[in-house]
């Protein structure tokens, strides 16, 4: 239609900006309440969201959206991932709480009227300050042909609501810098033309792809730094082949971004050969030291330059070009802490994923070997779109930064992350009964696991589902250390009796995570993160990530006791509630009770000591080859003396033992003392304690079942 503007007639169609194709709303949005205004200090003003307006026109400020309770957040990020390249239908965010607290969250999203909504399935960090379970997201812009000005997130659940408006910051989720250098005898190869080799999907666009573009499509704003430095061959020493240590040295010298700190930056080194020889095409060599995954290398003269003899001569060059390109993208993927496609579920010496992952050995991703899939290299590239798969994109874009960022989490630690195959019927939570998750040095950590029926119908579950530990995976990680997989001293096989959980009802049990068969998991001062996964039927349920702090020793006495305390013997005595034969451990626990009477560890020590001394026991011993049963009598006086820390302060005892274990020990000790005719002790143990949320525990499940059937 011809324009009638010269005649002063308003066009029938609104005038859109050119080029007029819809802009994605996905990307990074930011909110901050950090106002720097020395004189005077003005009150913060809520942002004015922009109403979407059909057609052209000036931007129209909309009504001020009421903001929920003012939390002590300083800066918040929102990563909205609903359109654009490889949308994952997720929203994730990071929020700073106070000066040092931080929470990361991730939500599934489905399109709803006016925006997107879904449930939060992952939290990490200071989760106690972030009780929400659902989000609804809307984007604000005058028309679909410009990037949004803002996005609004309504958080709900956990008994509260909260709304935040974030300003659009970038269409990328993170920023990363890449620096490409080469050894004197090699060249840097950053691109590949996807049409140069006929072995490709018919639908694959023919284009010149670059390494930075691959990672831009994964969601990163890639900048190249310095680069094209030529690393002298002297760095490889006499044989002109490179060892991992030599490459690490070269990285420290030649990488313009090198520093002993974690950052979104990677050094990529092109060289001729590794000292292993032609069979190694590339390696993420930086798996040593405190900052790992910052450097990677590709070897131009390795097997990647030698195609199968069946390749026609005319396709040798594009074949080599393709292998070089794929290798470089693959090795850089390791610096982002991506594991091989067939190793996603692997846990190696405590390093592994947070939640159970699925191995995908046939996946068409940069992180798979083309020659490893069924049908080999030809089959791989016939179906490969030069991308990462969805579970890898979820990790790259939305996992807590420290799992992905170079120099942060150690190689293979927290690699990959994926939403567990979960149903909406149950929710798993871990918590502690303490007012705050702060522990004294030497104080054992006992968690409460709570599985709640969040469906609208009764659900049958094994009454000992949590207690048996058979389907429980717990990971404990101290900041700066490798993650540890909890390995209990024993697993229990129970009769498969079931209980019915009504909607809203929970199954709960305790979990002593401080020590297990592989040693102590919580010992040194510092911050720890703990998360638990439960496998039930065809689904996995992943708990919140619980953050706790262990204090430093108060004095030298605690340090001296620690040497005998953090032992296998003491761990076993605490886990099994006593031993008559682990004398060294018992002596250490007695020392805790005697020398640290006001310490929370003394409460834990009191339990096994009292239970053991207050009972008659029998032990199988050998006199040469002759087996003998040795019986001991109860020592009520000694047991009574052990009880002092336990009965002195009920609130403190409940807080450190946890309500479930406190109830259990109180009942067991009462029975034990009653059995030896010490009724006064049983009266002292009938101690009132703070009310807690009701739940079926293994301790009361049998009684409850009897009551129901009576």
């Amino acid at each position: 239609m011809e324009s009638n503007n010269e005649a002063g007639i308003t066009p029938i169609f609104p005038i859109f900006p050119f080029p007029f194709f819809p802009q994605p709303v996905s990307g990074l949005y930011v909110w901050s309440n950090l106002v720097i205004n020395p004189i005077p200090l003005l009150p913060l003003q809520p942002l004015h969201p922009l109403e979407p307006v059909a057609g052209a026109g000036p931007l129209v400020p909309g009504p001020i959206i009421p903001i929920g309770p003012i939390f002590p957040f300083r800066r918040e990020e929102l990563r909205l991932d609903v359109d654009g390249r490889y949308p994952q239908m997720k929203a994730s965010g990071t929020s700073q709480i106070g000066l040092s607290g931080r929470v990361s969250w991730i939500a599934n999203l489905t399109a709803v009227s006016g925006g997107w909504a879904g449930s939060i399935f992952y939290k990490d960090g200071s989760v106690a300050s972030f009780p929400f379970t659902n989000v609804k997201v809307t984007a604000q812009r005058p028309n679909p042909f410009v990037v949004p000005a803002s996005a609004t997130v309504e958080f709900s659940g956990g008994g509260t609501t909260y709304t935040r408006v974030y300003n659009f910051s970038s269409r990328y989720f993170h920023t990363v810098s890449m620096e490409f250098d080469n050894a004197a005898s090699s060249t840097v190869n950053l691109d590949y033309n996807t049409g140069s080799h006929p072995n490709r999907p018919a639908s694959l666009p023919v284009e010149n792809l670059t390494i930075p573009e691959i990672y831009r499509r994964a969601g990163f704003d890639v900048a190249t730094t310095a680069g094209n430095s030529v690393v002298p061959m002297a760095g490889a020493h006499a044989d002109a082949k490179w060892s991992n240590q030599e490459m690490h040295d070269a990285m420290q010298v030649h990488w313009s971004q090198y520093s002993a700190s974690a950052k979104w930056a990677v050094w990529v080194f092109f060289a001729s050969l590794h000292e292993i020889g032609t069979s190694l095409g590339g390696i993420m060599f930086d798996d040593i030291g405190a900052q790992q995954r910052q450097g990677t290398s590709i070897f131009n003269d390795s097997f990647i330059k030698t195609p199968n003899p069946s390749q026609p001569a005319s396709l040798v060059a594009p074949w080599v070009d393709r292998m070089n390109f794929w290798t470089a993208c693959h090795e850089i993927g390791h610096t982002f802490n991506l594991a091989h496609a067939w190793q996603k579920s692997l846990v190696d010496n405590g390093h592994g994923p947070w939640v159970p992952l699925t191995d995908v050995p046939e996946a068409r991703t940069f992180m798979n070997y083309p020659y490893r899939v069924s049908g080999g290299t030809n089959s791989f590239f016939a179906n490969f779109d030069y991308r990462f798969i969805d579970q890898e994109l979820l990790f790259l874009r939305h996992a807590p930064e420290r799992f992905v960022k170079m120099g942060d989490a150690l190689w293979f630690d927290h690699h990959g992350f994926e939403q567990a195959n979960t149903s909406a019927d149950f929710q798993l939570e871990i918590r502690v009964d303490k007012p705050s998750p702060h522990y004294e040095y030497l104080e054992p950590v006992v968690l409460e696991m709570r599985l709640t029926n969040v469906s609208g119908e009764p659900q049958l579950v094994p009454e000992n589902l949590l207690r048996s530990l058979e389907n429980i995976t717990a990971v404990i990680k101290r900041d700066g250390d490798a993650a540890k997989l909890y390995a209990p001293f024993a697993r229990y096989c129970y009769a498969p009796n079931k209980v019915a959980l009504q909607p809203g009802e929970s199954l709960a049990d305790s979990l002593f995570v401080s020590a297990g068969s592989t040693g102590w998991n919580v010992s040194e001062p510092g911050y720890y993160t703990i998360q638990v996964a439960l496998e039930h039927g065809d689904y996995e349920y992943v708990s919140n990530a619980l953050r706790l702090r262990v204090a430093i020793p108060n004095d030298r006495d605690e340090e001296r006791l620690a040497q005998d305390y953090f032992t296998d013997d003491v761990g076993r005595i605490l886990a099994f509630d006593g031993s008559k034969v682990l004398d060294a451990g018992n002596n250490t626990l007695q020392a805790i009770v005697d020398r640290l009477p006001n310490h929370n560890a003394a409460i834990h020590a009191a339990v096994p000591l009292a239970l053991t001394t207050a009972r008659a026991t029998q032990q199988l011993t050998y006199d040469g080859d002759e087996a003998k049963i040795v019986r001991t009598k109860p020592d009520v006086t000694a047991a009574r003396a052990c009880l002092a820390p336990l009965v002195g302060d009920a609130r403190r005892a409940v807080a450190t033992l946890g309500a479930i274990d406190y109830d259990y020990y109180a009942a067991r000790l009462s029975d034990t003392f009653a059995a030896v005719g010490a009724p006064t002790e049983t009266a002292r143990l009938s101690i009132a304690r703070p009310a807690t949320k009701p739940a079926i525990t293994s301790a009361n499940a049998a009684t409850r079942q009897k009551q129901k059937t009576a």
Binding site: I276, S279, L280, G281, G282, M284, H340, Q343, D348
Partner: protein, 99 residues
């Protein structure tokens, strides 16, 4: 004589490994561990008479072992991986690639 190239690949977690060819020990090392980013723990070469040959791999401390037969002649590459309590083998006339 042929050259046999043996690669200890996935699943080695700091193990003692012994490799024998036709009953003769050709490799023994402690602490063999797979480098996860390349799927390779160690590589070595040994000469073998042309014709049928038996390769046996043992992890003494884990008390697991496995055997495979090959037809030695020209270049031959054998990859060895540990999966649970089993030793798995793969054969090729071309060099294996690791990245």
């Amino acid at each position: 004589m042929s050259r046999l190239s043996i690669s200890l690949e996935e699943g080695f977690t700091g193990d003692a490994v012994v490799v024998s060819v036709n009953g003769a020990e050709v490799y023994r090392r402690d602490g063999v561990k797979t480098k996860l980013q390349i799927g390779l723990a160690d590589q070595f070469e040994t000469d073998v008479q042309d014709g049928p040959a038996n390769i046996e791999v043992t992890l003494p401390t884990k008390q697991i072992s496995g055997r495979t037969g090959v037809d030695a002649g020209g270049e031959l590459y054998v990859g060895v991986s540990v999966e649970g309590n089993e030793i798995r083998f793969r054969h090729s006339s071309h060099t294996f690639g690791y990245v």
